[in-house]
Symmetry: C2
Subunit: 326 residues, 2 copies
């Protein structure tokens, strides 16, 4: 249940070195997902995401571009709960949330409840770079995307057979089990799995974070989780760290998880590892929330703690060796 | 440009005592608003909001109910940029955001981009109490409101002649001044005025915060500001304080203003006044953001700092004497 990542590099001059960390969601991994041929697919997708980001970082690309590139690969994979393959809401549709934040300027962009955007992480970036706003939601966000020349995709692009079956099963279970009807949520942690995210430190010493998700299966239409909330699911600040969260979004919003990790470093003098461990294993647990985070600081230290059964995660440094863990 | 509220009450046993603080927005106050008969209307509305909350608090009502009651009065007044009288977006429509948070449980509810909800603060409360989610946006939020039996109002209910003229003027100015077209925003601080909010400590020793707004005049449809973002515009935690923000929402989101004030108390040991002053006058200013906050801590200390030209604000304690400042 623990992963502190590789040994700390505190005090190292980050200039010239770089690192990218990604996650593909935290929760319980289903027995289907542990089948060797399926697990191999997950590992391949995570490696492809790491490679896409690494290619940019090694040629002095920015952490923002690397984060976007890695998240885009995971959005395009039907395996994860983001972009193609996202979970379905209670009405059987897909609504997507994403955010990105630049640690150098603390500029940020976020979108929520969008239905026709192939890569929500790109639209979040466009909100940051091309509008006076930080967050756009729903039809307004899509109108902005069209204005900016972004191609729209139909809902069918996102919807997989796997997710249709998942929704049917959840709704059957809720009908059968009256004690679950009060919340409208399934108790299966597998149904909350698969948000994707990335954090990076680039050769210029700048941090960035990005997160993208379809939310929780059987969510109410219009529900927004922590991923697109700056400070909860996504946060980056060169003075402290970059964080991307995954888990039960409602708890992550209430605990302001990503910003809390940053402030423990800034105001209490904790290390990245101490701060992230405290928030994920103590503060979130006290509130009742399950999930994990990935984070990187300016020194290139990384951390990937989670309090759930599992978390798809991986990282790559300047040497190009990709490490993927489940 | 400063207001620390009345003298600190640190160490006082809050049991039996209570306080409610409200704001009606920060920014520049127009010359129209300084006309005595208009200013009297603002003062009367703020006093009515304080009285509504005070009536509940004195009969041992909860801080959550008092915050809702005070915000509801300001939403119903056409003077403020919330509910009836809210600013218009670039398409000439009204889209409303609101949030509420309970400091005792850190439960929260938020809505954004709703178009037919008379009192968005009530829908935020309903999301908190009657759904498994923290945040619902757009049509999904309105579908939930209908499910819960909430009455819908037409857009015309919200739209005032004053706001139509304001939008026409802003759009004329943007056409005339090409340097402003890049951001699509007016430079007039009066056009960002009028978000409303309340924070309270009740006789049970519990804190709560609530905020409601129409956002920024001429905003893009779908734009969400800081008000409904837990940690940015609204935050409450019995361990620290309750905060409601008002100002340039994009900066408040990036600085995670409300949670930052809380963490300066929790992790750096600052007083409420030190924490709020530091965030509003230093951290926000460094980022370029204008506005203010109201906040209360468990000891009944209150603070109302702002770095803008003015802020409508007021408070009332157990003695029932309402204090209103502009």
């Amino acid at each position: 249940m623990s992963d502190i990542g590789n040994p700390p590099r505190t005090g190292a001059d980050p200039r010239g070195s770089f690192v990218l960390v990604i996650h593909g969601g935290a929760g319980a991994i289903s027995s289907e997902q542990t089948r060797p041929e399926i697990e191999a697919k997950y590992r391949a997708a995570l490696k492809a995401a790491l490679k896409a980001g690494h290619d940019l970082l090694k040629s002095e690309g920015t952490s923002l571009d690397a984060v976007s590139a890695a998240v885009r690969v995971l959005e395009d994979s039907p395996l994860f709960n983001a972009g193609c393959g996202a979970v379905l809401n209670s009405a059987g549709g897909v609504e997507l949330d994403a955010a990105i934040m630049d640690g150098a300027t603390r500029q940020a962009g976020a979108v929520a409840a969008v239905k026709h955007i192939k890569n929500p992480i790109d639209l979040a970036r466009l909100v940051m770079d091309g509008s006076p706003h930080v967050m756009l939601v729903g039809e307004g966000a899509e109108a902005f995307a069209r204005e900016q020349g972004m191609a729209m995709v139909p809902q069918e692009y996102f919807i997989t057979e796997h997710r249709k079956k998942q929704l049917a099963r959840i709704q059957r279970e809720l009908e059968a089990g009256p004690q679950q009807q009060s919340t409208g949520q399934t108790d299966r942690a597998t149904d909350r799995f698969g948000t994707v995210g990335a954090v990076a430190l680039d050769q210029h010493g700048n941090l960035a974070a990005g997160t993208s998700t379809g939310g929780i299966a059987n969510k109410k239409p219009g529900r927004v989780g922590d991923s697109p909330i700056i400070g909860a699911g996504t946060y980056a600040n060169n003075a402290t760290c970059a964080v991307s969260s995954t888990g039960q979004g409602e708890y992550f919003i209430r605990a302001v998880v990503a910003h809390e990790i940053s402030t423990l470093i800034e105001h209490r003098g904790l290390s990245l590892s101490e701060a992230a461990e405290r928030v994920v294993r103590k503060e979130l647990v006290e509130l009742g929330g399950e999930g994990g985070v990935i984070a990187v600081d300016r020194g290139g230290n990384i951390v990937m703690p989670f309090n759930s059964m599992g978390m798809y995660r991986g990282y790559v440094r300047a040497n190009g060796k990709t490490v993927v863990e489940i």
